[in-house]
């Protein structure tokens, strides 16, 4: 116990200012999806920070049920950070707490397995390939619907409102069901774009000069490194993104080019390590971060474009993750400073308008874009730039969808509860499609919608822009 305590104590001693900053005001409580649903303060950010402090003070064992359960139940959505008047860096503290918790007690097999796969190239690539092949058979969509499940919108909450997860068998079945549905949901939304062919000439709209206005200071970009030339952008291709969403990566490259960016490819990059960091596997995360720092250095890009906000948030924090590393620490900070979500890069250029997309869509803000990176207006501005697109507001858009990395697999009931609330909210808007900016959210909400019997597709923001540009003929030669 004392060793563990020392780890956290040391880790937190370095962060002492951050933890002591918490004045216990409670402003974070209503922002927390788990507290809102369970009503237990131990499931609130303030409560979790208090448990961390108790471990530091030696009043609580990091292996205790209380610490394990409540730190484990955190989605890591970081919705508590923007509302904290004291500026407590909750996300960082959570990763430390998870590390300490993980040292005190082994995390579940499934979680360890997933981290291992994503952290190992020779496991990840075949896994993704298998996923694609399986997805192509159409079996996952079918099987997910066929498997019995607990969560459908409108069902009674009695079984899960206490936050207790089911037994191992039910949990395995739930994980399988959700996993299959998520895989199915990663498929392209072909029907959305092909059901309603555009009725107008595709050649009317041409690229227009870039412009930037209306953004918040935080979201406005500085001039490119190379002075007046087109800024160079490197793209993180990612693991899941490369494996299951290569179309999104391709679309990202196309729409950035159409907006005047010079897109370069970067070899030798890999998984960003976000899943590992969030789970407290900080050493594994650092290994992956170092690799990416080295890979991206060579590209000398002005910006590193991110189309997975979970990865964006993680890379933007490489500086603090590798702060202790004398060899790459400085370079990691430099890389982190150039990481930008694709929506920001596009919004800074206007973006260029394409052909009309006569669709009604609604937008769900990924937590790691909105809360962790503070990007609020850019995605909206990008959507508004697409002619003919009707954007209806999504009530609760700022709340986590329950995806939260592998949360849906580790906490099927609570994650399912949060997810089904999101699904209900989406269904109530009557939108043709849900737009978001993170593969995890695409799969989580997509799975939820499919399991609820809905055919509403979930698409990435750049897919819409890309389709609009395609119809406008931007890529036709």
């Amino acid at each position: 116990m004392s060793g563990r305590r020392d780890t956290l104590a040391r880790a937190i001693a370095e962060q002492e200012e951050r933890l002591l900053n918490c004045v216990h005001c409670g402003f974070c409580l209503p922002a927390c999806p788990t507290y809102r649903r369970l009503g237990d303060e131990a499931d609130s950010p303030r409560g979790r920070l208090y448990l961390m402090q108790a471990v530091v003070e030696g009043r609580l064992d990091a292996g205790s049920d209380a610490f394990q359960t409540h730190i484990g139940r955190c989605l890591g959505c970081r919705a508590c950070e923007p509302v904290c008047p004291s500026g407590v860096e909750y996300g960082n503290l959570l990763e430390l707490a998870r590390q300490v918790g993980g040292e005190a007690r082994r995390s579940p097999l499934l979680a360890r397995l997933i981290l291992r796969v994503f952290g190992t190239d020779w496991l990840a690539r075949p896994a993704m390939l298998a996923g694609r092949l399986l997805r192509a058979t159409g079996f996952p969509a079918f099987a997910a619907r066929a498997l019995p499940g607990e969560h459908r919108p409108g069902r009674q909450r009695a079984s899960h409102e206490d936050g207790n997860e089911p037994g191992p068998v039910a949990r395995a079945a739930g994980a399988a069901r959700l996993g299959l549905a998520m895989l199915a949901a990663s498929a392209p939304a072909r029907e959305l774009f092909h059901k309603r062919p555009a009725s107008h000439s595709a050649r009317e709209v041409r690229p227009v000069p870039a412009r930037g206005n209306g953004q918040t200071r935080r979201e406005r970009l500085g001039p490119p490194r190379g002075g007046g030339q087109a800024p160079t952008v490197a793209l993180l291709t990612g693991c899941v993104q490369a494996g299951l969403f290569s179309r999104v990566n391709e679309a990202t490259a196309r729409v950035l080019s159409a907006n005047g960016y010079r897109v370069v490819t970067v070899a030798g990059q890999g998984c960003c390590g976000a899943l590992h960091a969030h789970a407290g596997a900080l050493e594994a995360a650092r290994v992956m971060a170092r690799r990416n720092v080295r890979a991206f250095e060579g590209a000398e890009a002005d910006f590193v474009a991110m189309n997975a906000s979970g990865c964006g948030a993680a890379m933007a924090e490489y500086g603090s993750l590798l702060a202790e590393d004398r060899t790459v620490g400085e370079r990691a900070r430099d890389l982190a400073g150039r990481v930008l979500d694709v929506s920001r890069l596009l919004a800074d250029r206007g973006p260029v308008a394409g052909a009309p997309l006569p669709l009604r869509v609604t937008y769900d803000a990924p937590c790691h874009l909105l809360h962790a990176q503070g990007v609020a207006d850019s995605p909206t501005r990008v959507l508004e730039s697409v002619p003919g697109l009707e954007v209806v507001p999504l009530p609760g858009a700022a709340e986590c969808c329950g995806g939260a990395g592998i949360y849906g697999l580790t906490h099927p009931r609570l994650g399912g509860w949060i997810g089904s609330d999101k699904v209900r909210s989406v269904l109530d808007t009557g939108a043709d499609a849900l737009v978001t900016g993170n593969p995890g959210c695409v799969m989580q909400i997509g799975a939820g919608l499919a399991l609820a019997g809905s055919r509403i597709p979930v698409v990435h923001l750049v897919e819409l822009v890309d389709e609009s540009y395609r119809r406008a003929g931007f890529y036709a030669g």
């Binding site: 002591l20 900053n21 918490c22 004045v23 216990h24 005001c25 409670g26 402003f27 974070c28 409580l29 209503p30 507290y35 809102r36 369970l38 009503g39 237990d40 303060e41 131990a42 609130s44 303030r46 409560g47 208090y50 448990l51 108790a54 003070e57 009043r59 609580l60 064992d61 205790s64 049920d65 209380a66 610490f67 359960t69 409540h70 923007p82 509302v83 904290c84 008047p85 004291s86 500026g87 407590v88 009695a158 409102e161 206490d162 936050g163 207790n164």
Partner: protein, 494 residues
């Protein structure tokens, strides 16, 4: 620890997940937003309905254990701290708005509804809920009822008790009483008014009926920047004497300005100023500009270095955010703070502010003031680090002097935070034995066996025979064993 039989009955009433008895999990319920007081409850129960509260209260009372109601735990007086292993009855799961009756401008809700969310729900009807404590994004209406909460806009609109028109309450004996309701007219004693502000000592409100107001058509927000805080205080007095009735008038002093500007809620106050005075007018568009201009003139005449008007809604919101999150932002200056809540006659403001600043200097302490100047409701925040024992001692003495200064000027010890655990020993500063005895009497009317929130509001020594004291209850745990026991002494970490 509570007896297993009680755990079982509570689990039957509120569901197994609605009862928390694991000592480790109970740690997080040790404190409210005043972390000076830490006491682990015997258990926490989270009911959903009036019937569940009734069942829980009956079961706990049958075991002779004390009961502490708790909302979001954002209180600043230790009111929701469970002394002597009391069982906390939390309202977090009672968060449904039961009815918004736009035609009659009223709403009926459960106590766990968050203040700001009530206003958000009323907004589509063109209505809002007027009392706006600075913690309104997190605090619950049930907590507001218990504390009779105020807020910046209470200058014009009045505090919580003006808006609560009816209550369903579970009394300590487990019976349910309906007080008032369906509008403001109720013959007989104003039991609703008596219950509001009773700090959880009379029972638990499980359904609350409140009045709503139409949203004002226009708002103007002014910011006066002063080099001396007394000048800001004078501007406030002058504005009021001139017959202007702003919706709010708030002063933020130099140290607070610097803390806020350093936080994510930076409002654009100049960091070298010694006071920022925020003045807001609301109402019909017509006439607002004239009133704002007059108030601006009073600021200039009182010596404002600069007077600005929020140009748009975004600027206005930022300006208010800075004010409302000021308390939390103090966490950036020092690890600990002691917030006071005295209210003084408005005309004494300049003298009191000067006095507080002198006391701070004398004890070599940073005192950050942020307060509802229009109401004369001061919030001197004494900043310190509890690890420094000498400083702790000085905080204690300065705190007492400030309190005395305010009372001597005709003020009171608490304007909106409540007495709770923190200020009960200051009650004799403003009330004599007869008044305290009368309050004990009323408390007994609601709670003859002394199970509701014992150890709060009234100092035990003023009613020696009170059953609520129990064996070692309250006073024995280190907090305020005697009248002179300073509030700050308890701040040392356990």
């Amino acid at each position: 620890m509570i007896p297993d039989t009680l755990t079982r009955s509570l689990a039957e009433i509120c569901g197994p997940g609605g009862v928390i008895v694991d000592e480790d999990r109970l740690l997080v319920y040790e404190s409210d937003a005043l972390t000076a007081y830490r006491h682990r409850p015997g258990a926490v129960v989270l009911p959903r309905t009036t019937a569940e509260v009734q069942g829980a209260v009956t079961a706990i009372a049958r075991h002779g254990l004390p009961i502490v109601p708790r909302g979001a735990g954002t209180g600043l007086s230790g009111g929701a701290v469970a002394l002597d292993g009391a069982v906390v009855v939390g309202t977090a799961r009672m968060n449904r708005i039961l009815e918004i009756d736009a035609a009659n401008r009223r709403a009926v809700l459960q106590p766990g509804v968050i203040n700001a969310e009530l206003s958000a729900a009323a907004r589509p009807h063109g209505l809002y809920y007027a009392p706006d404590p600075s913690s309104q994004t997190a605090c619950t209406i049930g907590g507001n009822v218990a504390e009779n909460s105020g807020g910046p806009h209470c200058l014009k609109y009045g505090v919580t008790s003006r808006y609560v028109t009816g209550l369903t309450v579970v009394l300590p004996d487990g019976s349910v009483a309906k007080l008032g309701g369906r509008g403001r007219e109720a013959p007989g004693y104003d039991l609703v008014g008596l219950f509001v502000g009773s700090e959880g000592c009379f029972g638990i409100a499980t359904e609350i009926e409140v009045g709503l107001l139409p949203l004002p058509e226009g708002v103007r927000t002014l910011l006066g920047i002063f080099d001396r805080i007394e000048d800001a205080g004078r501007a406030v007095s002058d504005i009021v004497s001139a017959g202007l009735l702003p919706a709010a008038m708030e002063i933020i002093d130099g140290p607070t300005i610097r803390a806020v500007e350093d936080s994510v809620f930076a409002a654009g106050y100049p960091t070298d100023a010694e006071a920022a005075l925020v003045i807001e007018f609301d109402g019909l568009e017509a006439g607002l500009d004239g009133e704002t201009a007059r108030a601006a003139e009073f600021c200039r005449r009182a010596g404002a270095r600069e007077v600005r008007r929020a140009r748009d809604e975004a600027e206005r919101m930022a300006l208010w955010k800075g004010r409302k999150k000021a308390f939390g932002a103090m966490g950036r200056i020092a690890p600990d703070l002691l917030v006071q809540d005295a209210t003084v006659p408005r005309t004494t403001l300049p003298a009191i502010l000067k006095g507080i600043s002198e006391i701070g200097k004398r004890y070599d302490l940073v005192v950050a003031n942020v307060f509802h100047a229009g109401d004369g409701n001061l919030h001197p925040n004494i900043l310190f680090d509890r690890r420094d024992e000498d400083e702790l001692e000085r905080v204690e003495r300065a705190s007492k002097e400030i309190m005395q200064l305010c009372v001597d000027s005709g003020g009171t010890i608490t304007g909106e935070h409540g007495v709770g655990l923190d200020k009960k020993h200051h009650m004799p500063l403003i009330y004599g034995a007869a008044e305290l005895d009368a309050m004990w009497g009323v408390r007994r009317v609601f709670d003859p066996s002394g199970v509701m929130n014992p150890g709060k509001v009234l100092p035990e020594e003023t009613a020696p025979g009170w059953p609520g004291h129990g064996e070692g209850r309250g006073a024995a745990e280190g907090e305020g064993a005697g009248v002179a026991e300073p509030a700050v002494a308890a701040m040392a970490p356990p």
